[in-house]
Symmetry: none
Subunit: 194 residues, 4 copies
DNA sequence: AATGAATGAGTCTTCATTCAT
DNA sequence: AATGAATGAAGACTCATTCAT
C-alpha cells in the first residue's frame, strides 16, 4: 500500500477549500486568502503546490468534473441498462441536489465565463460537454439509427443544459429545476418511443 | 451655449466602448481604462456620466438587451403571423450572426456569471429570459391548450439556450450553432403538429 | 448711487453658498460642486471670480469674521458703556445661538485646522483673536491698572474660547455651552470687583 | 519560524510615521504614501495592519492620548499629593515642551476638526477632555464643596484649553504659552485659597 | 515543507482646474 | 459674463506573488 504523500493530501485540502470559497463567494471574490483560510494553511502554500492561484483554480475544476463524472458512472451502473433507464439516469444526474444549489450555479457560471478567456479551462469544459452528449447518444442508439440518435442526444443535451441555465438564472430556481427535469424526461422518452 | 445632446452621445459612445472591451477582454479584465481608451476619452468621464464603472456596465447590458429586443420585434412583424412563422422567427433571432459571434459568447457569459452576485444585473437577465418564454408561449397557444403551450414554450426556450450555450463553449462553434438552430426548429415544429 | 456690479452680487452669493456647504458638510467634504450647486451656478464660476477654490474659502472666512465683528459692534453700542455691561456683552457675543450651533463648530474647527498650514487663513484668525482680547482689555482697563487689565483680558478670553471649544467637542453641547457662558460671566465679574 | 512581536513593532513604526506626517503636513495632506514613506515601508502595509488609513489614524490618536495620559500619571505621582501641587502639575502637563510645539498644534487641531465628522475620533477626544476635568475636580474637591469643585474644575480646564488654543493660533506662540501657563496657575491657586 | 510578512502594480473613485463656446 | 464638458493627477484599497526563515 503506497503511503499517500503529504503533497497529495495538501493539494486535495486546498482544492476542497477553493471549491468551498467559490461556492460561497463566487470566483471573482475568491482570493488566495479566502482559500488558504478555509484550508487552515498559509497563503504561500498555494504558489508552492500549484504555481499560483490560476493553477489551483484549474485543478479544482478538473477535480469537480472528475467527481461528478465518477458519481454518474456509479449511478448508471445501477440501472438495468435499458435505454430509457440510462437516459432518465443521465437526466437525473444533471438535476441532483448539488446541481440545483446556488453553489453549483455560481461555480459553473464562473468557470464558463472564465473559460472564454483561458484555453485550459475551456478544454476541460468541452470534455465534460462532450461526455454528456456521448452518453446520451449511446443510450439512444440502442433504439434508433446512429444519425437519429446523434440528433436526439444533441437535442436532449441542449434541453438539459438550457433548463439548468434558465433555472439557475431564474428568480425561483426550485420550481424551475423541478419542472425542467420533468420536461426533459418527457421529451427524451417521447424521442425513444417515436 | 451648451450643445444639446452631448450627454446622450457620450453615454452611447461609452456604452459602445464598454461592450467592445467586454467582447475583447471579458468582463473581468475590463477596466475603466480599457473602456475609456476605446472611447478616446479620459477615465474620469465614466464616473461623470454613469456614477461609476458598475453603472456603465449595467447600462451596457440594458442597451444590449434593448437592442436585441427591438431587432426581434422588427423581424417578427415581417412574418405572416402564423404560429410556425413566429416560432421560426424567434429561433432565428437567437442564432443571428451576432449571437453566434465569440463577442456575444464572451459578453453573455460574463454578464451571467456576474449576475449571480449582483441583483441589478440579475433582474435584467430575468426579464430577458421571461421574454423569450413569453413570446414562444404566445405562438404555441394559437395551436394548443394553454397548459401545453406553456410546456412547449419552456422546452423550446431551454433547447434554444442550451444549444446556444453548448455551441458557445464548443471547439467548433460554427457547426454547432448551425446544427443547433436546425434541431431547435425541427423540435418546435414537431410540437406544433402534434 | 453706484450700481452694485454683478460681480459683487455673484461673489456674495458664492460666499453664502460656501458657508452653507461648510456648515452642512464640513470643509473637507465641501467641493466646488457642493458650493456651486447651492449657489445655483456653474462650477467654473468659482475659478472665474475667486481664482480657485482656495480663494473662495478665504473670502468666506473673511466675510464671516467681518459679519460677526459688525454684529458685535452693534450690540455693544446698545449697552450703557459700563465695564460690566461691556464684558457681559462680549461674553454673550461668543455664546450666541449661532456660536452654539454645530454649524459654527464645524466651521471654526475646519478653519483653525486649515489655518495651521495656510498663512492667509492664519492671519485672519489672529486678527479675530486679537480683537476679542482687545475688547476685553478696554473694558477691564476702566476698573483697574493697564497691566492687570491685560491679564484679566487674557484670562477671560482664554476661558471663553476654552469653554466654547470644550462644549463644541462634548457629547452634550447644549448643557456645556450654557454652563460655560454662566461660569465665564461669574469669573469676569469677580475680576472686576476684586 | 515567525519572529514574534513583528506585528507590534510594525504597528508602532507606522503610528510614529503617521504622527510625523500629521505634524509635518497636517492631517488633510497626510496620505498613505506620506506615511509609508516615512516608515520606510510599502503603502500596502497600512491596510494590512490597520485595515485602512482610517484605522491607522485612529490608532495614532489613541496612542498619543495614552502616551500623554501616562506621562501625566507619572508626573503627578511625584508630587506631594496636596491639592495645589496636583493642580500645578496638571496645568504643567498641558504646557509641556511637546504641547507647545507646532507639531502638537497641528496634530490636535487636525484631530479636532476631523472628529466633528467622525464619531470614532470624537469619542476619543471626549474621553480625554473628561479626564482633564475629572483630575482637576478631584484636586479641588479636597479644599471645597463638591459643587464648587466642579465649577472650579470646569473653569480651570476651559482656561487651560483656551490658552493653549489661542497660543497655538497666535503669531508668537512662545510668549503666549508662557504667559498662559502662568495665568492659569494664578487663577487656579486663587480658586483654592478663596 | 511551510510560513506569512512585505511588496507594489493595478483598480476605482474623487475633484480642482481648464477652456471652447 | 457664464457655462459645464472634459481632463488627469492623486487618493485609498486589493491582492497575487515573492522570499527569507
Amino acid at each position: 500500500m503506497p503511503i499517500v504523500g503529504v503533497e497529495e493530501i495538501r493539494k486535495q485540502q486546498l482544492i476542497d477549500a477553493a471549491l468551498a470559497s467559490i461556492a460561497e463567494l463566487g470566483l471573482q471574490k475568491t482570493t488566495i486568502m479566502t482559500i488558504s483560510q478555509r484550508a487552515g494553511m498559509s497563503s504561500g502554500i498555494i504558489s508552492h503546490y500549484f504555481g499560483g492561484k490560476q493553477g489551483l483554480i484549474e485543478a479544482a475544476l478538473r477535480h469537480l468534473l472528475d467527481k461528478l463524472g465518477r458519481a454518474f458512472l456509479e449511478k448508471i451502473q445501477q440501472t438495468d441498462g435499458s435505454p430509457a433507464a440510462r437516459i432518465l439516469c443521465i437526466i437525473e444526474a444533471n438535476f441532483t441536489e448539488f446541481q440545483r444549489s446556488e453553489l453549483a450555479a455560481r461555480t459553473w457560471l464562473s468557470f464558463w465565463a472564465r473559460s472564454m478567456h483561458e484555453p485550459g479551462l475551456k478544454r476541460l469544459q468541452q470534455i465534460n460537454n462532450a461526455r454528456l452528449c456521448s452518453n446520451l447518444r449511446y443510450a439512444f442508439a440502442q433504439s434508433m439509427s446512429r444519425d437519429k440518435a446523434q440528433d436526439a442526444a444533441r437535442q436532449t443535451a441542449a434541453m438539459i443544459d438550457g433548463f439548468w441555465l434558465r433555472s439557475a438564472l431564474s428568480s425561483d430556481p426550485d420550481e424551475n429545476f423541478a419542472a425542467g427535469e420533468s420536461l426533459c424526461k418527457t421529451f427524451a422518452l417521447s424521442l425513444l418511443t417515436h
